[in-house]
Amino acid sequence: MADHIQYNLEERYEFTPKLRKQLLMVIGIGLLLLVAGAVFLALDTGGGHHGGGEHHGGGHHEGGGGGEEHGYNWMTRIWANFWLNGIFFTEIAVMGVLFLAIQYLAKAGWSASFLRIPTAFGNFLPFTGGVLLIVFLFANHDLFHWTHSSLYDKAGEEYDSIIANKAPFFFWPFESGSFPVFWLARFVLYFVLWYWLYTLIKKQHLAEDNIENRLNVKHYDKATVYSAIFIVIFAVTSSTSAWDWVMSIDTHWFSTMFGWYMFASGWVSGLAVITLAVIYLKEQGYLKMVNENHLHDLGKFMFAFSIFWTYIWFSQFLLIYYANMAEETIYFYERLYGYDGIYSPMLVLNLIINFVFPFLFLMTRDAKRKAIFLKVAAWGILIGHYLDFFVMIMPGTVKENGGFFLVEIGTLLMFIGGFVLVFANTLSKYGLIPKNHPMLEESLHHSI
């Protein structure tokens, strides 16, 4: 081809010591803020329960139930923050794997040139898995109401027949209220399966770089098979993990949509991080072949799945609002009016940032083709969906003691620093362009 522009297909991402230092500083600052925040919290509530008196006097909320009998501890807010960020970043990391798998299964051509970016996400899974596991082992009573054994004691005052009914889901085959072996087994299984399949797909994806004959699609075909296995497993586990990790915080409450709702939130966040990573790498002079056409498609993805998230959010809300059954409405009632109304503005802001903003901002073609617009949109979406997870997790854990200040900022910075550190480190381990990918030529000529 005469019009063939020569790209450097051998390029590698260099993880500079400077960036490493900066990221370590971000983590350090995060840690400092967290410690400072913890000190404030300890001083503020150290003497007793913040507002606990009135609360106990006035009887307790349905959702809180027996949890409040065990008292609020300022550490709860820290644990909850680690849980929140652990979940949020797990979602982002696993969505990178999902993106890769979908590209294989759908035989997508446009994305081949930047596939190494989502491929690098999955390596963060062991870290979030470890953090979440530690948090659960130390703080399960703080975060999960259902872990209190008194709820299952028929003779006890705190016996809760509704939660007792759900006990097998957490404790099977052990006695209700003992060690949540079933829940933990699932927890481990999710991470093991996701990470294992991620390594299988990645291995084939990377092995392609060393093939002699580019017409040989052995690795491409194998990666497709592993992608299919991953997607089947993920289709089930994305829902069940959402029930386990987030829906069970509000133990009484249930919604069949919840798994898909959390998936929608995670998926659009993952797409936003992919977009940001592509743009930042381009700004540093990498990925010359990724042009405004590829950005346009990434922009479309963020636009479309922001609407998809809204669709899911709205469907869940509308049906619960419409049927007006107490066992369902409590979820939104707590968030809109409960806990002194502290979560109410966040719920509204959530809809504005996650729907109105990307819908209007990414509507035009030009907006989706300009890096600066996409950066603003992607950061907006990420802030919005952090908030979405915040509103999912915080009301059920820290209740009226929630807020957004030093602890929240500190934990978030630590996770951002950690994610980018692992991402950049993984990315520097292999070539940045899948140079023998059978779809690469299509991606290099992508024009829309």
Binding site: S161, L215, M257, I312, S315, I320, E327, I448
Partner: protein
């Protein structure tokens, strides 16, 4: 230029050229109807007439002739309505969403799928008219002032939302379909006009000459397709506008197609009936609709490609890709079933748990078993490549899927209603001959319209297949392989040198 990867299978086979496409697809429009078509059309019309007797009786005597009773106020009518609306999802999905995703394989099947969509929505609408009992008052469903004799509609009711959703959907689908047809209609018009120009009737013609000429001339086609093609002349500007309109309509249809079945699901899910009120309904119904729609497209296309000899345009690759959509949507539906069942237990709501246990193990267990087998288990066979690419398997399974999707709606509607909160009013539903007859009517309507479409309009979008021909035929695949070989040879020489 368009570059195609060598891993993509050709979408047009046997070295067809642009002209071949025109010839192959115009053939059945221009030729006399074949015997096979005549027989099939006659059967469809007969079915429609038999069904019409049932429909006329339903309207004459009232819907009391159905098997509905004091407990089960919705059964076959709404089951059939939802079933047809669901089938009506594939066309717009193929034409709109797959256009946005730039899936080139859609070009061979979008026309027929869109036509099928329109007919399926009409069939669905016919059940609403049937259920009204007094179809002449159908306009009361619209928000008309009370002076028209109607009552102001209740905007709180999802049934009113349905009126808007489905009528908007029908309108946009028809516009989308028709806009896509215009260039092809113009092609048929031009080909008919040529027969007039090539065979001018001259005063000097002998009787035999005139007879021979008249046999070749197609003045009615030239006139009719001329009217239908709105004076399309195929200039570059017109094509640019055509593509713009297609993109805008695709953008409009995408949220629309999702909203239609979402609102159909609201008919059930906004209620407080156990088994109906569950938050997963909207996306789960949409997935189910796409599932059944693709199955129906497959059923029809497998027949059409054989009858009209279109094997080079609707290839095994097309069928395989569609089967992949079937397995995806079928599995989504399966996950939704399991989720519902799990949450019915997890919720601890007795009514909810009972509704689901009753579904699976109650008197309607066979309907539930049929639904699970046909919708969740049978599509899993498509994990095997040989089954995905087998015409027989695909044909059988596409019908199995639609049987399953009918049972799904029956299960949701009837099993949720037949045992309500008062055990004294528990009942069973038994369809009458009129329930069956009205369903037969919709089949007659659907196939009559489809066969008319298949005879008088081009079943494949010639213009769009031509746009992808160069990048998707066998030559494109060979070229892609050749290019890689050359590049590799070059690199080798460089290394050696």
């Amino acid at each position: 230029m368009q570059v195609t990867s060598h891993v993509r299978e050709p979408l047009v086979t046997n070295g067809k050229t642009m002209h071949d496409i025109t010839q192959d697809i115009c053939r059945q429009v221009e030729a006399k109807p074949t015997l096979a078509w005549l027989v099939a059309f006659a059967i469809s019309v007969a079915t429609l007439l038999i069904g019409s007797v049932a429909l006329a009786s339903t309207w004459w005597y009232g819907i009391g002739v159905w098997g509905l009773n004091k407990t089960i106020g919705w059964a076959w009518d709404i089951t059939n309505f939802v079933w047809w609306v669901g089938i009506g999802h594939a066309g717009t999905l193929i034409s709109a969403i797959l256009l946005l995703f730039r899936q080139k394989w859609r070009t061979s099947i979008n026309r027929a799928a869109e036509a099928m969509t329109i007919f399926a929505v009409l069939c669905a609408g016919s059940f609403i008219l049937m259920h009204m009992g007094r179809p002449w008052l159908a306009h009361w469903a619209l928000p008309l002032p009370n002076t028209y004799g109607s009552l102001w509609v209740n905007f709180n009711s999802p049934l009113v939302w349905d009126v808007f959703a489905i009528s908007t959907y029908l309108t946009v689908s028809v516009v989308f379909w028709y806009v896509g047809l215009i260039p092809d209609l113009a092609t048929i018009r031009d080909r008919a006009k040529i027969t007039l120009e090539e065979n001018p009737l001259l005063p000097t013609d002998t009787a035999e000459e005139r007879k021979a000429k008249k046999a070749k001339r197609r003045p009615i086609s030239a006139f009719m397709y001329g009217l239908l093609s709105f004076g399309w002349e195929g200039g570059a500007k017109v094509w640019a506008r055509y593509e713009y309109v297609a993109l805008i309509l695709a953008g409009l249809s995408t949220p629309l197609v999702l909203s239609v079945h979402t609102i159909v699901s609201f008919d059930f899910a906004t209620s407080v009936i156990p088994g109906w009120h569950t938050t997963i309904f909207p996306p789960y119904f949409v997935a189910g609709a796409i599932f059944s729609g693709f199955a129906m497209v497959l059923t029809l296309m497998l027949i059409t490609r054989v009858v009209f000899k279109l094997e080079d345009y609707i290839t095994i690759e097309h069928i395989e890709v569609m089967n992949k959509v079937i397995i995806l949507t079928g599995s989504i539906v399966g996950i939704a079933y399991i989720t519902e069942f799990f949450v019915a237990w997890y919720s601890g709501v007795e009514y909810e748990s009972y509704a689901f246990i009753n579904r699976a193990f109650g008197p309607y267990w066979w309907a539930y078993a049929a639904m699970m087998t046909c919708n969740v288990i049978s599509p899993q066979l498509f994990w095997f490549r040989t089954i995905r690419r087998s015409l027989v398997w695909t044909f059988v399974l596409s019908i199995v899927v639609n049987i399953g999707m009918w049972f799904e709606r029956f299960v949701i509607i009837v099993t949720s209603l037949h045992r309500d909160y008062l055990p004294s009013s528990w009942a069973m539903f038994y369809p009458t001959i009129y329930d069956v007859g009205d369903y037969v009517f919709s089949f007659g309507l659907f196939f009559t319209l489809f066969f008319l479409f298949a005879k008088f309009l081009p079943v494949i979008n010639m213009a769009e297949v031509k746009t992808v021909l160069n990048s998707t035929d066998e030559k494109a695949k060979k070229d892609a392989e050749q290019r890689i070989r050359e590049e590799q040879k070059q690199t080798e020489t460089e290394t050696v040198g």
